[in-house]
């Protein structure tokens, strides 16, 4: 369910954003995210941006693993 596409925001015009996935572009709805700007990365599902993406999967996974292995460390090592 819910195939997601990670893509870069190229342009935002009111409720619509132009996104770019490796050179493939499409207009999608940006109505669910209030503060999108060109250069942001978003997760897109069925033509709707559902979330802003805050890191790469590698950075994220590294932090998650550090978090469970060293739960007491104050800051995660990326």
């Amino acid at each position: 369910m819910c195939v997601g596409l990670s893509a870069k925001v190229v342009k935002v015009d009111r409720g619509t954003a132009l996104i770019d996935a490796q050179g493939a572009r499409r207009e999608i709805s940006a109505e669910l995210l209030s503060d999108l700007e060109p250069g942001d990365y978003v997760m897109v599902h069925a033509g709707i941006a559902i979330a802003k993406i805050s890191a790469t999967d590698t950075e994220e996974s590294s932090q998650v693993l550090q978090g469970i292995l060293n739960p007491n460390a104050t800051s995660a090592q990326a």
Binding site: M1, C2, V3, G4, R26, I28, S29, E31, L32, L33, S34, M43, H45, A46, G47, I48, I50, A51, I53, S54, A55, T56, D57, T58, E59, E60, S61, S62, Q63, V64, L65, G67, I68, L69
Partner: protein, 348 residues
């Protein structure tokens, strides 16, 4: 660095020496990616992945396809749908087969594209509104725009579903859930956290190889503590509060209803349907669709597969009468379906 993280996650999994663990991936895209990436071969035999009911195509009852075909063939409606639904068998026909009999069926990428088609058409246009929390906001946006722009010939045939009550219905089926990343991205983590209090464990996972292996490693690590847990392993997309604009949109346009899941039966409050002010856009009411009894093939055991009670290979028609080219059950249709994944990726 990617290699380091992958290696670390893989070695955590390889080193697992605890009791056998059953992990249920609820999301069909997880099922698909786990097979595509060959992740099962990287796990020790004591870790068993089972596939749950998270493919909207697979849990959509036969009667829903019959309703859609009724609209196309009897009411001359132009159907718009995600490609996923096209080959799902109804009682007699799939949408693809109905197309040969003259049904007008168009594939779209987004519910908003279906609305754009309605704008150009004089005919009635119905969008086949399936999908979970992730997909519903797009369908609500289409209704919102149809209302605002006064596009009268557009309606939805709803079979939308929500996950929380389904987790509870499935609680005994697995030791831990791999929660569906994009559903939780919309709904937020609260539901998963509440399930911990009910003794249900799980992690929310992303969809890349790194994310999936990390999430599985996390389950293994947390299981050793022998108490229920929840970890957000997809924080780059999933925020604790979810997407509040999407939640509000759903609350504005849709309300909970009981819903039939193929194989699981009716689960209370697990469906969504249009609220009263928008019921003129509910295709079921608008076209007074007669009740479709929906006869599934009696040999099909998709229901037991969806609950994780049997493997697809235990079904007598699997791989013989039921193949991706000639599917009998929905789980063989969608490439996200458990049966199709087992068949295609040779786990049978």
């Amino acid at each position: 660095m990617q290699d380091d993280v992958l290696t670390q996650a893989k070695s955590l999994l390889k080193a697992y020496a605890g009791p056998p663990l059953k992990i249920m991936e609820v999301c069909g895209t997880h099922t698909h990616e786990i097979f595509r990436l060959g992740i099962r071969q990287l796990l020790p035999p004591s870790l068993r992945l089972i596939s749950g009911p998270g493919c909207p195509v697979c849990v959509t009852p036969v009667s829903y396809i019959d309703e859609a075909i009724y609209l196309a063939l009897e009411k001359d409606v132009l159907l718009t749908t995600f490609g996923d639904l096209l080959r799902v068998p109804g009682s007699k026909l799939s949408l693809a087969q109905a197309r040969q009999k003259g049904a007008q069926v168009r594939m779209v990428y987004s519910p908003l594209d279906a609305l754009a088609i309605a704008k150009q058409e004089k005919r009635e246009v119905v969008f086949l509104s399936v999908g979970f929390e992730t997909t519903v906001p797009g369908e609500c946006l289409a209704i919102k725009a149809a209302e605002e722009e006064g596009i009268a010939n557009f309606s939805l045939l709803c079979a939308n579903k929500t996950m929380p009550n389904a987790y509870q219905a499935l609680a005994g089926s697995a030791d831990a859930f791999l929660y569906p990343g994009h559903v939780v991205a919309i709904a937020g983590t609260q539901c998963c956290e509440e399930l911990v209090a009910k003794g249900i464990s799980g992690v929310v996972a992303g969809f890349t190889a790194t994310e999936l292996l990390t999430a599985l490693a996390c389950i293994v690590h947390e299981s050793a503590k022998q108490k229920p847990f929840f970890v957000n392993c997809y924080p780059r997309v999933v925020k604790a509060s979810g997407n509040q604009a999407a939640q509000k949109l759903i609350a504005d346009y849709m309300e909970a209803c009981d819903s039939e899941w193929r194989g699981l039966g009716v689960i209370k409050g697990s469906g969504l349907t249009l609220k009263e002010p928008f019921q003129h856009r509910d295709a079921r009411l608008r076209f007074a669709i007669p009740k479709q009894p929906g006869r599934a093939n009696p040999h099909c055991r998709c229901g037991e597969v969806l609950k994780g009670n049997i493997l697809p290979t235990a079904c007598s028609v699997f791989g013989r009468a039921c193949t991706p080219e000639h599917p009998i059950g929905a789980c063989m249709v969608s490439s996200e379906g458990t049966c199709a994944a087992y068949f295609q990726y040779g786990q049978g």
